[in-house]
């Protein structure tokens, strides 16, 4: 094997590209979280009420919880295949800072599983009779919030990657951690109905996203080193 | 000192001014929790010690058996 020095930036782009390519080849990983989101959102009107007014009140919460569960479901595929075929070990052995490699994998994963959910959310919002003035803000909060869910979920997956059956333990670890994002997201959407200024709320979500981007991959990297050894 | 006791009779003390259920449930929970939390570690310690003692005895017997084997052959 020829030894060519690659910069961290190149390695970052290569990891991102590789993960996106794999996702493109394995379309199930892309379609399933998306379908799951649609189905969960459909269950709420059936389970609670088809009445437009009452649906409109809970629509923001329903969309956020459905996005949260879809993100959790998608998480399982984040490191598993790489762990099983040994490429995760290669990643840990590489000379590049693991922080950037983990970040690249998280971004790829969010583009594949989180972004489609965000993109389809206005349609579901319409079907759930969310007041029209909230569409944009719901879209923006999901755009800011779902990457945080992916970054936090990544820590849980990294901790449990070596386990045979981990579906439930992953949920027990990551769901309580997602509560602040759920609160920030739904409160921001509710504020549009009260007519209050949204700048502060969005700033809080932006700050959460920045904190998650800078800290969560560090924890994920540490967790991966522990789990893979 | 006893003048400042807030209850004039035992019955009044147990009825807690109508809040007997709330007050006594919490105190009962506390006493149970307290007892269990001190009792179980002590039981567990006895268990560990007896387990280890058995392991040591078994080990020693294995050792003597092995030594006997060595002498016989």
């Amino acid at each position: 094997m020829s030894e060519t020095r690659t910069s961290t930036g190149q390695a970052f782009r290569a990891t991102l590209k590789r993960d996106l390519l794999i996702a493109y080849k394995r379309k199930n990983d892309v379609v399933n979280p998306f379908m799951f989101f649609l189905i969960v959102a459909t269950l709420f009107p059936i389970g609670i009420t088809p009445e437009p007014e009452r649906l409109g009140e809970i629509a923001a919460g329903v969309l956020w919880i459905a996005a949260l569960l879809a993100s959790l479901l998608a998480m399982d595929s984040l490191y598993r295949a790489d762990y099983e075929d040994g490429s995760l070990e290669q990643l840990l052995l590489s000379s590049h800072p693991l922080y950037f490699m983990v970040l690249a994998k998280n971004i790829a994963h969010w583009l594949v599983s989180g972004l489609p959910v965000v993109l389809v959310s206005p349609l579901i919002a319409y079907m759930l009779n969310l007041p029209p003035e909230s569409y944009l803000i719901l879209f923006v909060t999901l755009l800011l919030g779902t990457p945080i869910l992916s970054l936090l979920g990544s820590i849980g997956v990294a901790l449990t990657v070596g386990l045979g059956s981990r579906g439930l333990i992953l949920a027990v670890i990551t769901l309580p951690m997602s509560v602040p994002i759920l609160i920030a997201g739904t409160l921001t959407v509710q504020q549009t109905l009260n007519g209050a200024s949204l700048l502060g709320y969005l700033a809080i979500m932006g700050a959460m996203l920045l904190a998650a981007i800078s800290l969560a991959p560090l924890a994920s990297a540490a967790a991966l080193r522990i789990s893979v050894n | 000192m006893f003048d400042s006791i807030q209850f004039s009779s035992i019955g009044e003390f147990f009825s807690m001014g109508g809040y007997a259920f709330n007050v006594w449930t919490v105190y009962t929970l506390f006493v149970l929790f307290f007892a269990i939390n001190l009792y179980f570690p002590l039981i567990r310690k006895k268990q560990i010690l007896s387990e280890q003692k058995r392991r040591l005895i078994v080990n020693r017997e294995m050792q003597t058996l092995k030594n006997d084997d060595g002498e016989n052959s």
Partner: protein, 276 residues
């Protein structure tokens, strides 16, 4: 601080140093020795064995005084009547429950950085204990509140964040039991505890933000104690100390068991076992 790897190099190069540097190196060595001694399970087992009776005596005294005072001598609250007596159980448990994640995060950091055995034993035994303390704080709070609020459960800020902390603790416990390799489990739980500790604070603030309907703090804080007469808050302070001691005693008892299990093949434990 001198790391174990550097230890030998330091010792061999010691005679080359002048006396001032030498004493500094020695000091560093002593500090390291003290630190590793602190982490030695045998040392902890012996020391805690000496302290335990005194802790139990202090705890029992404080508990007897505190509970008698709380049940018999505290005047009924003008609003809450005799349910005020629940405060003397609920507030100490609630306040100590908040200490578990910071404790586990500190222990986890020590486990990850210095690989001290004892720190992981503290983290391992603290998690289930924390879940129990949190559960009791929730239960007593709910029983206390059932009268004030007219319902057993309301989704207010403090109850909700306490419930979420309980879930996070359960997560740490289940991660520990799911991972078979003890060392990997120790490190994984250390990472999760540190993340969880940060998260507990974020959850606390976000939940307060979400719902600020709760009654003003009934807990012990110097600022809002001023209107409360001493006969109300002195027994509370006694109970807080008593229950902190109870926490210390039950944590030490569990750690001692953990030491006996993990060090079962060491000579001192075998001698101890034979002595029984």
């Amino acid at each position: 601080m001198v790391r174990p790897g550097e230890h030998d190099i330091l010792l061999t190069s010691m005679h080359n140093l002048n006396s001032r540097q030498e004493s500094a190196v020695q000091r560093a060595n002593y500090m390291w020795m003290w630190f590793s001694k602190l982490g030695s399970p045998k040392w902890f087992y012996e020391l805690s064995g000496k302290w335990l009776p005194w802790l139990v005596v202090a705890m029992s005294l404080l508990l007897v005084v505190g509970i008698t005072w709380a049940l018999l001598f505290v005047p009924p609250d003008y609003q809450q009547g005799n349910t005020i007596r629940i405060m003397y159980i609920h507030v100490p448990f609630a306040s100590i429950s908040l200490a578990f994640f910071p404790l586990m995060a500190v222990a986890g950091t020590i486990t990850l950085v210095w690989r001290m055995k004892l720190a992981d034993m503290v983290a391992k035994t603290a998690a289930p204990l924390g879940a129990w303390f949190t559960a009791l704080a929730l239960a007593s709070g709910s029983i206390w509140g059932s009268d004030i609020w007219g319902t057993w459960w309301i989704w207010d800020g403090r109850l909700t964040s306490m419930l979420l902390q309980f879930f996070l603790l359960v997560g740490v416990i289940s991660l520990r039991s799911a991972l078979e390799d003890a060392e990997a489990a120790a490190k994984a739980c250390a990472v999760l505890s540190i993340v969880g500790c940060i998260n507990v604070f974020v959850i606390k603030y976000s939940v307060d933000w979400w719902n600020t309907l709760h009654q003003p703090s009934s807990g012990f804080s110097l600022s809002d104690q001023a209107p409360n007469p001493p006969e109300v808050w002195i027994p509370l302070v006694i109970m807080i100390f008593a229950i902190y001691l109870f926490f210390a005693v039950s944590l030490i008892l569990s750690i001692r068991n953990e030491i006996l299990v993990r060090e079962r093949r060491s000579q001192w434990v075998e001698e101890l076992v034979q002595g029984t």
